[in-house]
């Protein structure tokens, strides 16, 4: 990665965004939009006396997901994924020519994840790539490499660039989803779409699906992430951080798999809808030309 050291001096005049202002606003918006959802607040207090509240959703409920493909004009495919306040933008370049290839019978998959400097409210992010970003890039590559038919593209490289616009937990899940959607948009041949889901388990036996930053960073909690290809019923990645009982692990993995299937159906429907819309636009253009 090219580093511009002139930029690596962060601007110190910015203030972190206070989301509590938005929270109150959102509540009123949700109240208008979805009258059926009862405002329920689940509270848990961990050993460090950090309160965890879930507003408007239960422990087994995913955050609201928004997806869109074809958002960037450059590159061969792109996608934008929003899971609650976590916002991720992904662009695919390629399959394109490479100068240095050791394994030239198959394509090489490169993945690069970058946090924007304004993405997080809790930690300072430099322009320079840090080890966390490198680790996440590697995990994303591992999760989706099994789904792509790399042998179809010899002597080429497929580059995935992910930009985290806002980090509110579960960035890895959002990134994997975004990468898969962008690959589908680019028309890269793959075996199946990879969907993923993560669960955070707290000490007081609460399993929180799709955790936010505050839920992820509880010191005594542990998280499990599962990425799978639902149509082929194959798991491509399991990551566990923290300590968990064996029975709890099984329970969490089952929950993750359920979540994966839910996200997969959303992804699938989204792809179909966007293709239908494109078709409609084409027809309208043809009519206008006539």
């Amino acid at each position: 990665m090219k580093i511009d050291y002139r930029c690596s001096n962060p601007i110190k005049t910015t203030k972190p965004i206070d989301y509590s202002v938005y929270k109150n606003k959102k509540l009123s918006i949700n109240g208008n939009g979805n009258n059926n959802i009862n405002t329920s607040i689940n509270t848990t207090v961990n050993s460090n006396n950090i309160k965890i509240q879930r507003i408007n959703r239960s422990d087994e409920q995913l955050r609201q997901i928004f997806m869109k493909i074809g958002v960037v004009s450059q590159g061969s495919g792109s996608s934008y994924v929003e899971m609650g306040k976590t916002k991720v933008l992904c662009t695919i370049h390629g399959p394109r020519a490479t100068q240095k290839t050791e394994l030239f019978e198959t394509a090489k998959l490169n993945c690069e994840l970058k946090y924007t400097t304004f993405s997080s409210t809790t930690e300072k992010i430099e322009y320079v790539e840090n080890s966390k970003e490198k680790d996440l890039s590697l995990l994303i590559t591992q999760s989706i490499i099994g789904s792509i038919r790399l042998e179809k593209y010899p002597k080429t490289a497929i580059d995935i660039y992910i930009l985290v616009l806002n980090d509110d937990g579960n960035v890895l899940v959002a990134s994997i989803t975004a990468a898969t959607m962008a690959l589908a948009d680019a028309g890269v041949e793959m075996f199946d779409m990879v969907s993923s889901c993560s669960v955070s388990s707290t000490k007081d036996n609460r399993t929180l699906i799709d955790p936010t930053t505050s839920e992820e960073t509880i010191p005594t909690s542990s998280t499990i992430l599962v990425a799978k290809m639902p149509s082929l019923n194959e798991i491509t990645q399991i990551i566990q951080t923290g300590e968990l009982q064996y029975t709890n692990v099984l329970e969490c993995v089952d929950l993750c798999i359920d979540g994966c299937d839910k996200i997969y159906s959303i992804m699938k429907q989204n792809l179909i809808d966007s293709l239908l819309q494109k078709q409609k636009e084409k027809e309208q253009q043809q009519q206008q030309q006539q």
Partner: protein
């Protein structure tokens, strides 16, 4: 060869199970896994019917097993958008010569068929692949010069850096070249080109162009 009639027009997502392996022949945009045909791209499902005349001819010659094979239709999922064309073995490409040495000419692949590439691929025309006859008498600098636009065919994926190309056909070779004086040269024979300005002759492996059509695909079919 085969009739292209699409019967359905459904939108298919990657990884969607389409049918049993025995129902159709898996074709473009699909793959077989554990006895089923799955889609591998986002696009529209088409079923391409085989020509009946072709079937009857084949059925008479082949065994019963093949008869069943021949009665099946192709199933394809057509992409709504191509991720960009790639050079394949056997395809006719337009290349520009970058540098030459006594053993080979390094080229940059610009177009595949009639479609331009977004980024160039590296290729190599080795001395034994320049022409079909009198291979031992070929001299690279009498065949290509840096800057020439050449029609060539891909013969293999080559080594890790470049594709291997061949111009060992009449219709393959230099199609555009500039003389030392800088004007576009006119081919006067299969191995010489002349500069209209200075009337000097230069050696090239000239492509035999179809006079009516100047597209690459037409010269291939010739």
């Amino acid at each position: 060869m085969s009739q292209t009639t699409s019967t359905t027009n459904d939108i298919i997502t990657p990884g969607q199970r389409l049918c049993k392996e025995s129902d159709y022949i898996s074709s473009e945009g699909t793959y077989i896994h554990k006895g089923y045909i799955y889609s591998s791209v986002l696009g529209f499902k088409h079923i391409i019917k085989r020509n009946i005349n072709e079937n009857t001819v084949n059925n008479n010659n082949n065994e019963n097993e093949n008869q069943v094979e021949n009665n099946k239709d192709y199933i394809v999922v057509l992409k709504e958008r191509e991720p960009g064309i790639l050079p394949e073995i056997g395809s006719i490409v337009t290349v520009q010569v970058l540098r030459i040495n006594p053993k080979l000419a390094s080229v940059a692949i610009l177009c595949v068929g009639t479609k331009a590439l977004k980024e160039t691929f590296n290729g190599v025309i080795r001395i034994q692949d320049v022409r079909a006859t009198e291979i031992d008498k070929v001299e690279i600098y009498k065949s290509f010069r840096p800057g020439d636009i050449v029609l060539a065919q891909i013969i293999s994926l080559g080594d890790s850096r470049s594709y291997y190309l061949s111009t060992a056909k009449n219709e393959l070779g230099v199609v555009f070249a500039q003389s030392v004086a800088g004007s576009t040269m006119i081919p006067i024979s299969w191995n010489t080109m002349q500069c209209p300005k200075t009337k000097t002759k230069e050696f090239r492996k000239v492509a035999k162009m179809d006079q009516d059509d100047d597209t690459t695909t037409d010269s291939k079919n010739e």
